[in-house]
């Protein structure tokens, strides 16, 4: 799987990025000059906020009282019995307000936008989970909000489109390219460059120009920090195995980052294998089937052809349907600290049904990918192996799409 020589093992995996926003060779700030002053302003504002206890207090308050944190760490007893092997816990981030981990980041960023005195919010969305979370915090703070969403995603995630509109957001349909997340992000960047003076762009994943990958990771790290405490309470020790799905990778980096220096913990990131890794147009596994490149402000693994043109890819899950990945994941891949694997649409669909039937939890199609890997992994591990899977979103939004895939008329 690896075509890159592993660099020297670093002393810590948690010190990145450097002052120019690099994780090894990945990350950086590859944006047009129009945006550059704003990116620097954002970095300064974030550094100030990070050092300000009031910012942390306000964010904590909102995460608890508005977002519903901490989310439970739940022992999935029946799934554990069914698979036979590791003791499986779900981090229940699907129970957050708006139904996914996306709210963690959106609350952090909207507080920052307010500090920067920005009066208009924009965002891209794939599955619509990020769009809903952005529309939600924009409503909460009374800011106008424009969400860019690909036309294909608008069709397969209709309930979320309606939710965003109810919340007062303007949803702009993007028809360029394949009409999915990448194209929505291009369009959001075009909006931003045109409206830099008053607009804050809430990027939904741990990708984009520095400081976004670091900032989004920091806001999502509440997931892993809670797991550390909760697992100590439940089992008296830290977990042995972590599993999360990877689109851009924000839920995964949020779970992984607080554990990266606990070197005995095995960590798995699960990419969308689509119809299989054989054809680059039929999956979204950028780290398993792509190579390093530069897109959307950062260097990272990308699905691309030999000429450097970006390939659209495919996934059953709109939230994973992105040809890139956050730069920190690219670095963690090359260093070998995290194992990045892929599962197919069919495997994810099967895991979706299994979880629903035996745990009574309808997972989103995104974490269904993580679950499909747990199905493979757990039986190979001993019964005292504590495995935590991030159940980062709920599947209400997906029931129509799943029905269609299963051939059910609704």
């Amino acid at each position: 799987m690896s075509n890159t020589a592993p660099p020297d093992t670093p002393n810590t995996y948690r010190s990145g990025p450097d002052e120019r926003g690099h994780f090894g060779i990945y990350g950086g700030r590859f944006v047009a000059e129009t945006l550059m002053p704003l990116i620097l302003e954002l970095e300064e504002a974030y550094e100030r906020a990070k050092a300000d206890p009031e910012f942390h207090a306000e964010l904590k308050h909102m995460l608890v009282h508005y977002g519903g944190r901490p989310s439970p760490l739940y022992f999935a007893e029946r799934l554990t019995q069914e698979l036979g092997g590791a003791k499986i816990y779900f981090k229940r981030d699907e129970l957050n307000h708006t139904g996914s981990h996306k709210i963690n980041n959106c609350l952090g960023q909207i507080l920052l936008a307010r500090r920067m005195k920005k009066t208009r919010i924009i965002a891209e969305t794939g599955a619509g989970q990020h769009g809903v979370a952005v529309a939600t915090v924009a409503a909460r703070y009374g800011l106008p909000c424009v969400i860019y969403m690909g036309c294909v995603d608008i069709e397969r995630q209709a309930p979320n489109v309606f939710r965003m509109k109810l919340l007062g957001a303007e949803v702009h349909q993007v028809t360029a390219g394949a009409g999915t997340l990448k194209d929505a992000m291009n369009e959001a960047l075009r909006d931003w460059v045109t409206n830099v003076h008053d607009t804050y762009y809430i990027i939904g994943t741990a990708a984009g120009p520095h400081p976004y990958p670091e900032m989004v990771r920091d806001f999502q790290s509440v997931i892993g920090e809670e797991v550390r405490v909760q697992m100590m309470e439940a089992e008296g020790r830290l977990p042995d195995t972590l599993v999360a799905c990877i689109g851009g990778g924000s839920n995964a980096i949020g779970l992984f980052h607080p554990f990266l220096d606990d070197k005995d913990i095995a960590i798995y990131g699960v990419e969308a294998g689509g119809l299989g890794l054989g054809n680059p147009e039929e999956h979204c596994a950028s780290m398993n089937g792509g190579k390093p490149g530069v897109l959307h402000g950062n260097r990272t693994y990308l699905l691309q052809n030999d000429d450097g043109q970006i390939i659209e890819g495919h996934s059953i899950s709109a939230g994973l349907d992105y040809p890139g990945v956050g730069p920190e994941h690219s670095w963690l891949r090359d260093t070998g600290r995290v194992n990045y694997v892929a599962v197919t649409d069919a495997e994810a669909l099967e895991a979706f049904q299994l979880c629903t039937r035996i745990e009574g939890i309808i997972p989103a199609l995104e974490p269904s990918h993580a679950l499909a890997h747990v199905q493979k992994l757990a039986p190979t591990l001993p019964a005292d192996n504590l495995l935590v899977m991030n159940l980062c979103g709920r599947g209400d939004k997906d029931v129509f799409a799943v029905a269609k895939h299963l051939g059910v008329e609704m």
Partner: protein, 279 residues
């Protein structure tokens, strides 16, 4: 080192005329038509030629240039073909400066060193790469300068006085002033504001300043040229080309002339204005 770009600006300065910089996308709508157009541009009045290297995700471009990139890629254009096109052009033209414009990823995977070498060999004079800011200069800008290419940087309405020196530091050939905060081919720039911004840039550099983004008509070009060393016209040319294609994006007999006619009009506009303003 004096480059083709330096020589051209010096010659135009003597004539008291601003440069007309034309942008078209390499390979739009296909290789042969695009090459024929490229060869016809100097005769129509293009002083400096900017060729777009098509990219699947042109984030700084408006709908017209996005579509032109898509047409070129669909017709099979690649980075190698773009460089071959320039080699063919140089067989008949040793004087007209030619600048490649695009995004970093296709250069990065080319990879950088090979790309710069092939540019020099093909007869490229300069590069404009939208998504490599001064903060990433060691990636591409410095190696390109060392190899003898000009690296033309964009300055924008958001580039403030504090930042401008960083933008100018490794810029050569000319400075490309982006007249609006936005994407190509959309809002029309305010001439007064543009002239003020160009004057502020020229206080800090000896380099010529060309203005682009949103310049569509000979009248606009003439007005902008009164306070700048060059005017870049792109989306308007790309739109003229698009209008000459059939419903399957195939070129017609008038495809090349639809663009060169417009270029001729723009060039005449610039020539007439400058004789008035220069005395």
């Amino acid at each position: 080192m004096t480059t083709r770009i330096d020589k051209r600006f010096a010659a135009l300065r003597e004539k008291g005329r601003a440069a007309l910089v034309t942008f078209t996308t390499a390979g739009d709508p296909d290789y042969e038509t695009s090459l024929a157009l490229l060869k016809a541009l100097p005769g129509a009045g293009a002083d400096i030629i900017e060729m777009g290297m098509p990219f699947s995700d042109p984030m700084a471009d408006g709908p017209a240039i996005q579509a032109s990139s898509q047409r070129a890629l669909k017709a099979g254009q690649t980075m190698k073909k773009t460089l071959r096109m320039i080699r063919e052009f140089r067989e008949g033209d040793q004087d007209t400066p030619l600048v490649l414009m695009g995004y970093y990823n296709p250069i990065y995977v080319y990879p950088v060193e090979g790309f710069i070498g092939d540019c020099i060999e093909a007869g490229v004079d300069g590069l404009i790469v939208v998504d490599v800011p001064p903060e990433q200069d060691d990636e591409l800008c410095i190696p390109a300068l060392e190899a003898g290419l000009n690296f033309i940087r964009l300055a924008t309405p958001t580039t403030d006085a504090k930042r401008l020196p960083a933008v100018l530091e490794n810029t050569s050939g000319f400075v490309y002033y982006v007249s609006i905060a936005g994407i190509t081919g959309t809002a029309a720039p305010d001439t007064g504001e543009v002239h003020g911004a160009v004057a502020r840039i020229k206080m800090q550099t000896e380099l010529p300043v060309a203005v682009g983004f949103g310049v569509k008509t000979p009248e606009q070009a003439r007005a902008i040229a009164a306070g700048a060393d060059g005017v870049v016209v792109g989306s308007a040319l790309v739109n003229a080309l698009k209008a000459s294609l059939d419903e399957n994006d195939r070129p017609g007999a008038a495809t090349v002339s639809s663009v060169t006619d417009l270029v001729r009009g723009l060039a005449e506009g610039l020539a007439s204005s400058q004789t008035a303003t220069v005395k």
